[in-house]
């Protein structure tokens, strides 16, 4: 688990770290949306420059980003290979049965790879620089308009924040249960598929039962502390929108406009 960097938070106090989570979520959405409009060298160049600029502003070392990409390496390779061999159209360089390498196939493989990498890197940048809690706050605040259609935003936010709070607790518990079962002779990660699935059961069931017990306990504790419903509560934590947020949002909107304009070049 320790080598798994994807989705982690790297503490820091850079320009990007200090941005409002709402702003960062919006920036991320804009960027990912615009990636799908990019279609030529200049648009990708612009997107890459903006991404690299953001990474530099976030002051997160490049090797951590590369470690974040590593678990996705095989997925990337698989998609690219599929695109190369099954892409059709344009000049045919090589052919064998249903497999062929064509000019258009190579181009679309390149595009897909580029898009994948850009999207993964920008979302990694979001999780590296934003605490899960802040992301939850940001999501809640962005969902606020949905209150108008009676969507239970406050309840959803509470559920989100409770789940996030219990992730490390449940991870610890899973490790404890695994070690306890190991000490009784359960052998994890060996044997055939059937055998391996069977060894999951002695982890899963106690974990579920304990989670139910926790849910009961925490709901009693919440009720004892005066929790009635998600609505009508005051909030201790507040998000602050600053000028840096507006500046970066304007910057990304301009970038989006430019990408759509440059799209016409080909």
């Amino acid at each position: 688990m320790n080598n798994f960097m994807f989705g982690r938070y790297i503490p820091g106090n850079s320009w990007v770290h200090r941005l409002d989570p709402r702003a960062k979520l919006l920036l991320c959405f804009i960027y990912i949306g615009v990636v799908f409009f990019a279609n030529n060298f200049w648009t990708y160049l612009l997107l890459t420059v903006v991404l690299l600029g953001s990474i530099i502003l976030a002051a997160v070392p490049a090797r951590i980003f590369i470690r974040g990409l590593r678990p996705l390496f095989w997925l990337l390779l698989f998609t690219v290979v599929i695109q190369i061999f099954f892409g059709a159209g344009g000049h045919v360089y090589w052919q064998w049965g249903v497999f062929s390498i064509t000019h258009d196939g190579l181009v679309s493989a390149g595009l897909i790879l580029m898009r994948f990498v850009l999207i993964i890197l920008i979302s990694t940048l979001l999780t590296f620089t934003t605490q899960p809690l802040a992301i939850a706050d940001g999501i809640e605040s962005l969902l606020n308009p949905l209150r108008k259609v009676h969507f239970p935003v406050a309840t959803l936010a509470l559920m989100l924040s409770l789940s996030l709070r219990f992730v490390p607790t449940l991870m610890d518990e899973a490790t404890k249960i695994m070690n306890a079962q190991r000490s009784r002779g359960v052998d994890f990660g060996s044997g055939g598929l059937r055998q391996q699935i069977k060894t999951i059961v002695p982890i899963l069931i106690p974990l579920f039962v304990n989670a139910f017990q926790r849910a009961v306990d925490i709901s009693i504790a919440m009720e004892a502390r005066g929790y009635r419903d998600g609505e009508n509560r005051t909030k201790y934590r507040q998000l602050k929108w600053r000028s840096a947020d507006t500046i970066s949002l304007v910057g990304f909107v301009i970038m989006a406009g430019l990408v759509i304009a440059l799209r016409q070049l080909t």
Partner: protein, 281 residues
Amino acid sequence: MADGLAIISVSNLTYQYAQSEAPAVNDVTFDVEAGDWVAIVGHNGSGKSTLAKLLIGILAADSGTIDIAGTRLTEASVWDVRETIGMVFQNPDNQFVGATVADDVAFGMENRHVSRDVMIRRVKEALLQVGMWEFRDREPARLSGGQKQRVALAGVMAVAPKILILDEATSMLDPEGRSDILNTIKTLKQKLNLTVLSITHDIDEAAQADRILVIDDGRFIEEATPQALFEHGSDLIAMGLDVPFSAKLTELLAQRGVAVPAHYLDEGSLADWLWKSRLTK
């Protein structure tokens, strides 16, 4: 006892779980006066925790009444009653609602519609009181059990209840964390004139109390001061309590033929007694 000062007044309380054959709480009557520290002790399954849940209205009694600070506990008044009671539960992990220490302390106030400015001030006050202010931005996963219980205590203190109920609040802590929490509670009690009702196995916690109520099979079987109760010596084990160290020592001395005093001595007075008895030899 019922002299009008009682802040908690329970009479003929009975509760039976749907699946069980015998009532978990059976015809229980007691009063707690404002500013008192009362301990309820009993072995596992004696009905202590059920009693705690009845007191804050999580469970509704089959019969009997509960009056808290002059209000009769009913379905309509349950939220008002909860305003006056703060409760710390057993498992430090399962009562930590907030994502960070400060958020958890603020949770109770958020529920009571306290404005944000007041909340910020009171979170700080409460965390300073329990000595956790420098941990305000920590997540629960990075705290020890004792620290989590201190945060739970701060969360309770921030809403300024009149009554503090400890439902085995120290039973999952190590000895150090336990005495730490008990000292904090003692200080808070004095400062804020709290009424403390502690439900416990722990001998040190019971020894802090002004009165001890012993519960067995859902019934109160004895009510005494810690002094009087600890004179039972090894009978305490049957009541779900440990024997205090000084009582164990007294008993071992008696076995070896030392003429020890018959009444209970705490560690200080036992040391005094030993000291004097050597002088007269």
